[in-house]
């Protein structure tokens, strides 16, 4: 697939080069850019990116365009309020958290509502049913309930840990653990920023990872902290709850650890079963596919490692090299894997069996891509599964992309590339096995 890789990334080069040239030409395909075309849909906070125009028009003939998947930037959501640190999406509703106090809600690429948190810098967001869970710089998880009568209203319904639990735990000295040099705190409270949240819907458990080197497990029903695991030697940057009680954590100490949840009566504990990775570079992001059969790990050296389940055992299957700077976020959707990086780009990889191919590199952000959220596109054409990708960046914007799973017809792409005179096989991301 090496040739395939190169050709698919060639499309990327073309899209990048066309992006820079298309910025001077107006986008007038209103059916493609619904958020731009209709005055009633216009919001002062929407900006339509000149990059939204499919890069291969108008060079494509009608016949050619039928075979080319429609992928690319849909629009940018810019609030100029703060660096975007977290995203979550569900059924076309997008939640964004930044270093301001406001958590913004977007629908149909417009701002729908916002709610304020007492503590700013929302570092993680999870949507579960009618509840939103936000992880904050102050080490707390806040719970928000959507008003069923007015979906734009969100009310804070709780905090993890709850005040009463803090009070109860504070009374007993044995509940205090050392969190920093010469400093103790109660074990149910994170002593540093929360970096990541992960929900186990089946068991009703929320996992929170923190820079205090622990991850904690919360029962969402009653906000009780069931377990606190001193997991790593450095900040825990990512936690993912997978199937059958398996939990993965990634840390700035360069390790990825696998934990198994065990329950003995009311007591829940997590036992380390394996260290998947131990390296110099910090582990910055983790992602697991829906079936739990493939685990991806992004690192500060720009590399994505992945493991595949073979006979109930994860084995290292290769690396994806697509970025020049740290990988900051990962997302898996269907056959696609998305990696966002400090180099301001998002690599889109397609997994076919044991093989990963880089489909494209989404460029447009002017700052590091800090977070990703992916949803299946509801307007699906037969045989072409598409995904809506939201990318949040430290450039204070969120970009909305549409990405198709179909591998484009490379011969036609190559022909188009040659016609444009922009063709470079060499500087391409690669997957190594």
């Amino acid at each position: 697939m090496r040739g395939g890789e190169k050709r698919s990334t060639n499309m990327l080069d073309n899209s990048i080069s066309n992006k820079s040239s298309s910025s001077s030409s107006e986008v007038d395909d209103s059916s493609r850019l619904s958020c731009e075309g209709s005055p009633t849909m216009m919001s002062p906070w929407n900006q339509t990116s000149p990059f939204a125009k499919p890069p291969w028009t108008p060079n494509f003939s009608e016949n050619m365009s039928q075979n080319v998947p429609q992928s690319g930037l849909i629009c940018s959501l810019v609030r100029e309020e703060g660096h975007i640190y977290s995203l979550a999406s569900k059924d076309g509703t997008l939640y964004t958290g930044s270093d301001s106090k406001n958590i913004r809600v977007w629908k149909n690429k417009q701002e729908f509502s916002a709610f304020k948190s007492k503590s700013g810098l929302v570092k993680a967001i999870i949507i579960s049913g009618d509840k939103i869970y936000t992880g904050h710089q102050d080490g707390k998880v806040r719970v928000w309930k959507i008003n069923p009568n007015d979906l734009s209203m969100h009310k804070r319904s709780g905090t993890f840990p709850a005040f009463f639990d803090i009070f109860k735990a504070s009374i007993r000295p044995k509940n205090y653990v050392e969190v920093k040099r010469n400093r103790t705190a109660i074990w149910i409270k994170h002593a540093d920023a929360i970096s990541c949240l992960s929900m186990n819907q089946e068991k009703g458990l929320l996992y929170s990872a923190s820079w205090d080197r622990t991850f904690k497990v919360w029962r969402v029903e009653d906000s009780k902290c069931l377990d606190s695991v001193k997991a790593h030697e450095d900040a825990v940057n990512s936690v993912v709850s997978s199937m059958e009680g398996i939990v993965y954590t990634g840390s700035a100490d360069g390790t990825v650890k696998v934990w198994k949840r065990e329950q003995e009566g009311k007591v829940v504990r997590h036992v380390l079963t394996r260290t998947l990775l131990s390296q110099e570079s910090a582990v910055t992001a983790l992602a697991v596919n829906d079936s739990g059969s493939v685990v991806y790990c992004g690192s500060s050296d720009g590399i994505v490692n992945f493991w595949e389940m073979e006979k109930e055992l994860l084995s290292h299957s290769g690396v994806l090299k697509g970025h020049k700077l740290a990988v900051l976020c990962l997302a898996v959707a269907g056959k696609l894997v998305f990696s966002g990086s400090a180099d301001k780009t998002i690599c889109v990889w397609r997994r076919e069996g044991a093989v990963h191919t880089c489909l494209s590199v989404l460029a447009g952000h002017t700052g590091p891509v800090k977070c990703l959220a992916v949803e299946e596109d509801s307007a699906v054409e037969a045989g072409d599964k598409k995904w809506v990708v939201y990318s949040g960046s430290l450039d204070k914007s969120v970009k909305v992309w549409k990405v198709s799973e179909i591998v484009p017809d490379m011969d036609r792409m190559a022909l188009m590339q040659q016609n444009n005179g922009k063709f470079d096989w060499k500087s391409l991301p690669s997957a190594k096995y």
């Binding site: 270093d99 700013g120 900040a235 700077l325 900051l328």
Partner: protein
């Protein structure tokens, strides 16, 4: 911390047992026994024992000055490579006894006979002599602290409270974003479990900053400098390795940036000039010598001693009057692009271990230029005593 930071460079670049041409390291607040700090630190760092060290001090500009010292030596061919560093522990300042007790103890030491020693010890002894003398940050000649001086500057240049708070908030947010993006991953060395700047307040807000009371002018009702928009005194160390291109090539080391030029200036703060305005004088000289304008930079790293100091500096460069009267220029230097200023935050968020700040800024700017691939950056550091140290890095 000095040993730690030098050792980190030794580890990173494989300098074990290597003799460098110079290690210039300074500290502003140090004990008398640390008179040879640079040499003592490098002897514990892993470098060859035949590496010379020089201990320096120019207040907040110390380690940038050390970079100038080492760079100049390399440029004239005296040495091939050296380290510029700085370190300060403001949380553990030396506390000394007052003059009377000091003189008594020295006299006791000089006396030969035990009876003479006893007589000196008891002669007109007062318990007041035991009162320790704490170091201050006031200027000896004016008796005012840097904050007092900067408060005056803020009034003179009409820099308001909100502008200062906003700059401070930006600094914190930019630094937090830089940490999130992994920028400091390979720049910061953990020390005693500390891996991040402790001054950083990522969830600060204008409301929180506005609630702080003035820290220096507490009486006139017009004070604008607060703890939030003034840099905090902290502990830290920083070091940079400088070398000739040949030396770097021989060792297979990639050059991050080139140290192009530097300039130091001073102002007569005793007779009315702003204590922290010296960089406004140094930068035009630097620009003129290099045929550059103030706008010819991709990055501006201006040490945030106080938010007001940065804003006064920028206003001075934009002021036709100031540029003509004080700097002798026909036209103002003009404005800088705010998006290029302290792009990853600066001292207001990082904290200010006096002597380390210069090397921290050099390291940050060099990495920014390396990541960008090309470009030019301006460094500007004001110092106590009415001096300013500035430099240009390029790639």
């Amino acid at each position: 911390m000095s040993v730690k930071v030098l050792g980190a460079l030794v580890e990173r670049y494989g300098l074990h047992g290597v003799e460098l041409g110079e290690v210039a390291l300074g500290a502003v607040i140090k004990h008398a026994s640390d008179w040879n700090l640079a040499r003592e630190a490098l002897l514990s760092s892993g470098l060859a024992a035949t590496t010379p060290g020089i201990t320096t001090a120019r207040a907040c500009g110390t380690s940038l000055d050390n970079a100038i010292i080492v760079a100049n030596k390399i440029a004239v061919g005296q040495i091939e490579a050296g380290i510029a560093a700085g370190s300060d522990t403001t949380s553990d300042v030396p506390i000394v006894y007052g003059t009377r007790l000091r003189k008594r103890l020295l006299a006791i030491n000089r006396a030969k006979a035990p009876l003479d020693k006893l007589k000196i010890a008891l002669h007109r002894f007062s318990l007041k002599e035991l009162k320790p003398s704490f170091p201050g940050v006031a200027e000896p000649r004016t008796g005012k602290s840097m904050g007092d001086h900067c408060e005056q500057m803020a009034k003179q240049w009409q820099v308001g409270r909100e502008a200062q708070d906003r700059l401070a908030l930006d600094s914190h947010r930019k630094l937090a974003a830089a940490y999130e993006a992994g920028f400091f991953e390979d720049l910061i060395v953990p020390f005693r479990g500390i891996r991040r700047d402790g001054f950083l307040r990522p969830d600060s807000s204008l409301e929180k900053l506005a609630a702080l009371k003035p820290a220096f002018d507490k009486t006139s009702g017009r004070g604008t400098l607060t703890a939030g928009n003034s840099t905090g005194l902290s502990d830290g160390a920083a070091a940079v390795l400088l070398a000739s291109e040949d030396w770097a090539a021989q060792r297979g080391l990639k050059v991050q940036a080139w140290f192009r030029d530097a300039e130091v200036a001073a102002v007569d703060f005793v007779h009315g000039e702003g204590l922290l305005m010296a960089p406004t004088v140094a930068v035009p000289r630097l620009l003129r010598r290099n045929g550059l304008t103030l706008q010819d930079f991709d990055y501006y790293e201006i040490h945030e001693a106080f938010a007001a100091q940065v804003l006064c500096t920028l206003r001075a460069w934009e002021s036709a009057d100031y540029c003509k009267q004080r700097l002798g220029l026909d036209a103002p230097l003009g404005a800088i692009d705010p998006a290029k200023l302290n792009v990853h935050g600066s001292s207001l968020a990082v904290g200010h271990p006096f002597a380390a700040t210069g090397a921290r800024i050099v390291a940050t700017l060099a990495k920014l230029l390396e990541q960008k691939g090309s470009g030019r950056g301006l460094i500007s550091i004001c110092t106590a005593g009415g001096m300013g140290v500035t430099a240009i890095l390029e790639r």
